[in-house]
Every structure is written in C-alpha cells, then in structure tokens.
C-alpha cells in the first residue's frame, strides 16, 4: 500500500500541475493543446540544465558530502529553469493566438510538432543518441529523498505514514503540490484570478470594465507554459530517471483529459489526476504490485491486461464527456480570438 500511494503520487502530481496549466490557459480564453509539446520542451531544458550544472561542478561537492538540502535546492533551480523556458516557449502560442488571432487548435498542434522535433534535433547534436541523460549518476542517487537522509536509521520502521511520504520520495513532488494549491487559490480567491477567468467567459464585458484582455490572456498562457514546463521536467525526473527523449508518452494529452474530466475546476482536477495517476501506476507495475504486503498479487491475479489500464483514462474521459456534455463548465469564450470591434 505505501508503495502504491507513493507511486500514484509520482504520476498524479505532474499530471495535476499540467492540468492546472491547461486550466489557466483555457480560463483566460486560449485553448492550449500544446501542453504535451511544452512538457517535452520543459523536460529537455531541465535535463540539459542538470547536465550543464553537473559538468560545471557546482553541486559535485554537495553530492559528495551527501548534502541533500543543497541538492534539493538544485532541483528547485532546475524546475525554475524549466518553468521559465516553458513559459518562453508558450509565448509562441500566445503571440499567434492573441496578437495574430490565429486558429488556436492549429497553433497548439504546431507547438506539439515543433517541441519533439527541435528537442530530438538538439539531443542528437549534443550527445549523438536519442536520449539526453544526466552527466553523472541518476535521478535516484542525486535527487531522491531517502529515510537515511532525514536522520532515520537504515532499518528503522517508519510506520505507514513515514513509509509512504518520507522514504524514496522526491521533494519536487511535494513542491508541485504546494504550487498547485497556491495557484488554485490565486485563480479563485484573488482579484487577478477573477479578472483572468472573466476574460475566458466574456472578454467583451471584461474589457468594458477596464480589464486588459490581451494582458490577461498573455498571463494565462505564460503561467500555463511555466507550469507545463515545470511539470514536464518533474515528470522526466521522477518517472524517466531524469532523462529526455523528445517524448513524454502522451502525458500532456492525459493532462488535457484530466482537465476535461475535472470540468475545469482545480479540486475536481486534483481528484481526476489522482485517479488517472493510479491507473498509470497500476499499468506500469501491476504485475509486481503487492497491495497489502501479504504476498498476494491481487491485480496480477485479476488477469486484466496492462494495456487496459493504460487506455482506461482516455476511455473514462470520453464517457464522462458523453454524459456531462450538457452541463460542461468549459469557459464560454475559449478558442475565440478577442476582437475589440465585436464589443
């Protein structure tokens, strides 16, 4: 059980953050299909940043000393780098969708095509193979928090809570959770959030009240890009051993599914992400999954194929869409370029 919860969180938290990225963009009125592309780009930037810093030798002493506080700071720096570059990348979408009033679906698709192409092109130039890895060591050695680091004995029994949340975890996961909560509050409980959402519902009315629709939409897409870039790196760090391959296995689209499943609301999205994260986790490790620790592999004995768990999130989203299409809370003005003259 601790293993299941831990692994589910590892999948669910990036999913949550990237789905929130989608919410920010769509709530401001811009459809962001490019989540997948921005994630790919963010993952690449993050891994590249880790490589460069490692090669410069800045954190090698901290690693040698086992100074895990410094190393977690390193992770935060990397997440910041991925977020900044992710936001920069998303400006391409913002510019096309807001200034040029372009078709947002096509613009997002273009970014989804651009990111893997550019990333693979650069990775091949940099390392002459299709995978960019850390310069030395792996994600587990450098960035994973283990119980020994927190002052516990190697054989200490931590109990259910400790075993689940303190051993073999990534600080990045918890940091993302904090970011998720803070930004959800900003979106719903602040003046800025209200204004941003108004631009996705009725930009004409918002404009007439003196809200700068263009600036708000830029803010929405940029925050979206930053979150997706960061989420992309966290995904690469926690599930792909901090490597980048120009691919996040459809995770960005899964986040899009989570966003729709959660009806564009953060709390529902968090629950949806946990559910879909659980499916991801089960699909990845169900054959060796011992839920209660009693030596019975219940899921493996169930005989359901791993492929079924993999396609379940998409199928559920379609079914949910089919049943809730009448009461969908999708932002009213999403996908429509704002034109002052139609006010």
């Amino acid at each position: 059980m601790p293993f299941l919860i831990r692994q589910t969180l590892i999948y669910a938290v990036p999913l949550m953050v990237v789905a929130l990225a989608g919410i920010f963009s769509e709530r401001s009125g811009i459809i962001n299909l490019a989540l997948e592309g921005i994630m790919i780009f963010g993952a690449f930037i993050g891994v590249l940043f880790v490589r460069i810093v490692q090669q410069a030798g800045w954190f090698n002493a901290a690693y040698a000393d086992g100074n895990w506080v410094a190393l977690q700071g390193f992770v935060l720096l990397t997440m910041l780098a991925a977020a900044i570059l992710g936001a920069t990348f998303s400006l391409l979408l913002a510019f096309a969708a807001i200034n040029l009033k372009a078709d947002q679906t096509i613009g997002g698709t273009a970014l989804n095509m651009l990111a893997p192409a550019l990333v693979l092109f650069l990775i091949r130039i940099l390392v002459n193979q299709n995978t960019l890895q850390m310069a030395t060591g792996g994600a587990a050695g450098w960035f994973m928090v283990k119980k020994t680091m927190l002052g516990y004995d190697k054989d200490a029994a931590l109990g259910f809570f400790g075993q689940t949340f303190l051993d073999k975890v990534y600080f990045a996961t918890y940091f993302c959770l904090i970011v998720f909560v803070v930004l959800s509050i900003i979106l719903y409980k602040t003046r800025f959030g209200l204004r941003l959402r108004s631009c996705g519902e009725n930009p004409q009315a918002a404009d007439s009240l003196g809200i700068n629709v263009v600036r708000m939409r830029y803010a929405g897409v940029t925050i979206s890009g930053a979150l997706a870039g960061m989420g992309g790196y966290v995904y690469a760090l926690t599930t792909a051993n901090c490597s980048s391959t120009g691919d996040v296995a459809g995770f960005g689209f899964l986040a899009l599914a989570v966003m729709i499943f959660g009806n564009w609301k953060p709390l529902n999205v968090a629950l949806g992400a946990l559910l879909f994260g659980l499916f991801k986790c089960v699909a990845a490790s169900f054959s060796t999954l011992d839920i209660n620790g009693d030596g019975i592999f219940a899921l493996a004995n169930l005989g359901v194929s791993t492929h079924f768990y993999r396609l379940l999130p998409y199928l559920i989203t379609l079914i949910v869409l089919a049943f809730t299409s009448k009461s969908s809370r999708a932002p009213k003005a999403e996908g429509i370029p704002y034109d002052k003259s139609t006010r």
Binding site: L33, L92, A96, L100, K101, A102, D103, Q104, T105, I106, G107, T109, A110, L111, N112, M113, L114, P116, A117, L118, L120, F121, L122, R124, I125, G246, D247, A249, G250, F253, L254, L256, A257, I260, S305, H307, F308, R310, L311, Y314, L315, T317, L318, L321, A322, S325, G335, I336, P337
Partner: protein, 408 residues
C-alpha cells in the same frame, strides 16, 4: 464572375497559393537559421557543414551524395524521387483526410488514430488469410478495404459524439487517438503476428511479404530503380481525384460543405446535418486508414507494434499537408509530395552531414505554425487589409470556408 476582373493578388486562389509558398519559404528559412546557429555553436560542425546542411534542407531531393573531394553533388536521383513518391502515399491520404473533414468544418486531429486502426486491420487481414489457398491479390484487396473500413469506423466515433452529443471533435479525436494507440498495442501483443523469425529485431510485426502479399509495383520500379516506390501512390492520387469530384461536383459534397459553412443554416435548408457530420468523419477516417494500409502493404515496411507511447507522425503531417493545400484535394497531392520531399531531404542531411533528420520536422512544424495564421498572410497579400476580406467572402461554399476561418 466578378473575380476575373480583380487584380491577380486579390483573387482568392492566387492568394492561397502565394500564402502557402510564403509559409514554405519561411519554414525552410527557419530551418536554415536553426542549422546555422547550431552549426556555429557546435565546434564539430562549423560554418562549412552548416552550409552543406542548408543546401540539403532546400535541395535534398536532388542530392546524389558527395564527390571524391567531399563536396556535395546534386542532380537527378531516381532513388530519392521514387522514395519520395513512396513516402508521399500515406501523407497524401492523411492530408486528404484532414482536408475532407476541414471542408465540413471539423478539425480532424484524429488522423493518427484512424491511421493506426487502418494499419492494424490491414496487417491482421494480410497476415492471417493463408496465401496458399487465396490468391495474394484478393488478400491485398481485402486487407486494403479492411483498413479503410477500420479507419472509417474509428473516425465515425468522434463524428457520432459530435453529431449526437455536441462533443468537441478535437477533444474526442485526441482521446480516440490514444485509445487506438493502446488498443493496437494490445491486439498485436496477444496476436501471433509478432516477428520472431528475425531475432535481431524485436517489437516488429511481420512484413506482409511474409504472406506473399505486397502492393504491385505497376512498372514504377523500372522508372525509379532502386527505390521503394509502388502502385500505392497511384491509388492515393486516384482517391484524391475521387474526393475532389465528390466534394466539388456532387450534391452530397455540396451538402457536406454547406454543413461546414454553417451547420444550422444547412439544417434549415433541409440538409441532414447530423448524418453528414458522421459521414464526413467516417470518410476522413477511411482515407487516413487507407494511408496506414498502403504504407504497410508495401511489403518493405515493418510495423513497430508498441505504439502506446507515441502516435504515428503521418497523422500530424497530414494536418500540415491539408493546411498547405488550403483543403483542396488536388493540391494535397502536391503538398503531400512536398512533405515527403522534406522527409527525403532529412535522410540526406542525416547521411551526408553531422546534422540529423529531425531538422525537417522542425521545418514542418514551423509551416503548420504559419498556417495557423495564414488568413493574416492572405489579407496582407490582398493589399487593402480588412477591406479586401468581405469582398472575397461571397456566398459560394468555397469562399464560405474562408469566412468560417475568420470566425474561429
């Protein structure tokens, strides 16, 4: 009628062609800039190799390798041209699929999934029917039609959801794409079609030649010796012409376009809009399925069956093909060839320089990005910016397409 008197650039068709050409040029230039920057920043490449890379990105189709002095040589290369035609087959068909749906006002981002569905059905049929008892041509035909049917069924799912429940087809297509990717992996995982005899490779399905099924060459191999070309390209061209005739010469095509221009007005005029949306998506799916089908029936291609982690690029390149062709089925033939030409150029870049083939994907992505605001380019080409637009938006369905783009 009035159009003939208008200046050349004010004409809608001319502006569309010019806008596409400009997109292509900017795309290629962007690729060139990336090559140049990367070349200058990487010690092992340098300016000389960047220049080689840029020339190949533009003229890779004419590349004939390097001469004794190590300089790039250019000239007619039948292998490249033949391979270009071969690789154009699937993207022409996925491009047709996207263009067809676009004409009906639907953005078919699900061509990848339909392509996979077609591939899957085709391979199962082509490899399961014993060629000892059934003539290979019959198997080929069944496999091809089966692929189209599977694509049509897969495409009709988002169509039904759109028509009956008004679910956005983009979202439904994205979901069905990934469901297809997983289902196809699942089906092949439990099948006995996995290639086990050639132990050097893992994760591939048998080639269809394993069952003596392959698309006929129809003499094209003599025209372009040494290349992979086969009769599939002719099938693709025939289908493009058929789509053109259906869309612009039949009542059915007119109804589809009317639905695309304004669904509610079409219903008011007595057109069954729901049926047309489903049919349009089914036909789009059939075309994308035919693309996958023809590509893997070639006999010299192998299918990597673990598809659940990434979708086939052909589906997304189809979007680029359709956008560049401004949804004209006949133009799709040429833009499809252009896309596969870039693909060949990418291979040349990979083989002859220190760069790799992904640069051409960057170029394609830039072209799609530009296509997103091609309307702006068109207006800009028309000279008098916004005043020119309403004049072009007359009521004939062809022009109504443009009006729709403006509304989005």
């Amino acid at each position: 009628m009035k159009e003939k008197k208008e200046p050349f650039l004010r004409r809608n068709g001319a502006r569309s062609v010019l806008a596409s050409l400009i997109s292509i040029l900017i795309g290629l230039l962007a690729g060139g800039v990336v090559i140049l920057i990367v070349g200058l920043a990487t010690p092992s490449l340098g300016l000389r190799s960047a220049w080689d890379g840029i020339r190949l990105a533009f003229f890779g189709i004419l590349s004939t390798g390097r001469d004794a002095l190590g300089r790039l040589t250019f000239g007619f290369n039948p292998v490249n041209i033949g391979n270009m035609l071969f690789r154009a087959t699937p993207v022409i068909l996925t491009g047709l699929s996207v263009a067809m749906a676009n004409k009906t006002g639907l953005f078919n981002i699900g061509a990848s999934g339909q392509y996979l569905a077609g591939t899957c059905a085709t391979l199962f049929i082509a490899l399961s029917i014993p060629s000892e008892t059934v003539p290979p041509f019959v198997i080929w035909l069944l496999a091809f039609l089966g692929g189209m049917l599977a694509g049509a069924l897969w495409g009709s799912i988002p169509g039904l959801l759109k028509a009956l429940l008004n679910i956005n087809e983009v979202i439904a297509c994205i979901m069905t794409n990934w469901i297809a990717a997983n289902v196809v992996t699942w089906l092949f995982d439990v099948s006995n079609l996995k290639n086990l005899t050639e132990s050097t490779k893992s994760g591939y399905i048998y080639k269809t030649t394993f069952n003596n099924v392959a698309t006929a060459k129809l003499g094209l191999d003599r025209l372009f010796p040494g290349s992979q070309v086969n009769g599939g390209i002719l099938v693709a061209i025939l289908l493009a012409v058929a789509v053109y005739i259906v869309m612009s010469r039949t009542t059915f095509g007119y109804e589809l376009k009317a639905c695309g221009a304004n669904r509610h007005a079409a219903r008011y005029a007595g057109i069954r809009d729901k049926r047309n949306i489903v049919l349009s998506m089914a036909m789009a799916g059939a075309l994308a399925g035919a693309g996958g089908s023809l590509y893997y029936l070639a006999g010299n291609t192998e299918f990597f069956w673990n598809t659940y982690q990434s979708l086939p690029a052909a589906g997304f390149n189809g979007i680029a093909v359709a956008l560049l062709a401004v949804n004209n089925p006949l133009a799709v033939i040429f833009t499809g060839c252009f896309m596969s030409m870039l693909n060949i150029a990418g291979l040349q870049i990979k083989n002859l320089t220190g760069y790799n083939e992904y640069i051409t994907d960057v170029i394609i992505a830039v072209i799609v990005y530009l296509a997103a605001f091609s309307l702006i380019i068109k207006l800009w080409l028309g000279g008098r910016k916004k005043k020119a637009a309403p004049a072009a938006r007359t009521v004939t369905p062809d022009k109504a397409d443009e009006g729709k783009e403006a509304q989005k």
